[in-house]
């Protein structure tokens, strides 16, 4: 009787060891349950978004509208589909920038716009509005700097200007164009 009981205990122990080691080996091979976000995938997406940036005095600097906003936690970047950036500085002609897509980097310090980039500036008194068209543009919103390393076309009234690259500072209002510069300037109106 005692022999049979010893055998039973030994068999149960053996079975327990087998089951435990099997479970342990399965557990080792299983992927970790907490899956990290897929690299390059957004942490969240917001549709039809409107963001307004204010300065220290609470005055709105600019507003950003987009069809879709995707936020990436890994580098704090924001990707926008069909963005439209509108400047709201009082007393300054309104500036609008739109494109097919844009990437906002370094917490809004730098914006890279791509595809059908269109920059429009309202005309000052007696001045026709100014438009800039290109395929790629880098914007530093705080400094109001716009640069493009691909061909640009700038139009104002009947005048047009084109070149291979562009640098524009909206605060000093200095525009630099390099490479195959061509300008067509409308004639002045002479008194009849």
């Amino acid at each position: 009787m005692l022999d049979r009981l010893t055998m039973l205990i030994a068999a149960l122990l053996l079975a327990a060891v087998t089951v435990t080691s099997y479970w342990y080996s399965r557990e080792m091979r299983r992927p970790v349950v907490r899956t990290p976000p897929t690299p390059g995938a957004p942490d969240f997406i917001v549709e039809r978004v409107s963001l307004t940036q204010f300065d220290d005095q609470g005055q709105a600097n600019y507003r950003l509208l987009a069809e879709e906003l995707s936020y990436f936690n890994e580098n704090d970047d924001v990707e926008l589909a069909r963005p439209l950036l509108v400047s709201l500085r009082p007393g300054e002609p309104q500036l609008k920038a739109s494109s097919k897509r844009a990437r906002v980097m370094h917490a809004g310090e730098k914006v890279l716009m791509e595809g059908d980039v269109l920059l429009q500036r309202e005309g000052r008194t007696g001045e026709p509005p100014l438009t800039v068209r290109t395929e790629r543009m880098t914007v530093i919103p705080d400094l109001e700097r716009f640069s493009s390393d691909v061909p640009v076309l700038i139009e104002q009234g009947a005048s047009r200007l084109s070149g291979d690259t562009m640098e524009y500072d909206n605060l000093t209002r200095v525009l630099g164009i390099a490479g195959r510069l061509r300008g067509e300037l409308a004639p002045a109106r002479r008194a009849p």
Binding site: R173, L181, G183, E184, P187, A188
Partner: protein, 197 residues
Amino acid sequence: MNRLRLLLVLALAAGALPVWAERADRDQPTVIEADRGVFDELKQINVISGRVTLTKGTLRITGEKMELRTAPDGFRSALVSAAPQALATFRQRRDAPKPGVEETIEGVAERIEWDERADTFRFVNRAQFKRLENGVVRDEVSGQIISYDAATSTYRVDGGDGGGGRVRAVIAPREDAAKAPASPPAPLRPSAEPAKK
């Protein structure tokens, strides 16, 4: 100032039909081409550089660097300078003085200044100025400074400061009608030593 100055005023259109810089040029846009440019909207000064050309209708100016300004009324002025050892060039067709004659004027200088409103040009340093009829040089002048008024078709040559300042002019005789045969341009000797002021 003890300056030696030599002045010559020539009327190209003297006695003949009035000739004008091509009238249609005025309504043409100004086209600029270059390697690069910096446009200052506030100061309205544009600095354009690298193989610069400016065209407006039949007017064409070339150089290495150009300062282009726009006045509040929209009229422009340009200062075109040449690369070292080179000369800026100017060329414009004028309204035909008579049928079958195509008249062009050409000029070179180290610097060419253009005033759109007044329709005047200034050729500064090593300036040369020519009037051509059907490609044949009829008048030719050179000096330190040549001022050309396209509105009245007159030019003025200045020998410049210093003893070396000399004006040289070759002016073709005017043909009253077609009766006078085409003759080579009569050479005009440089003027006598100018009086000291």
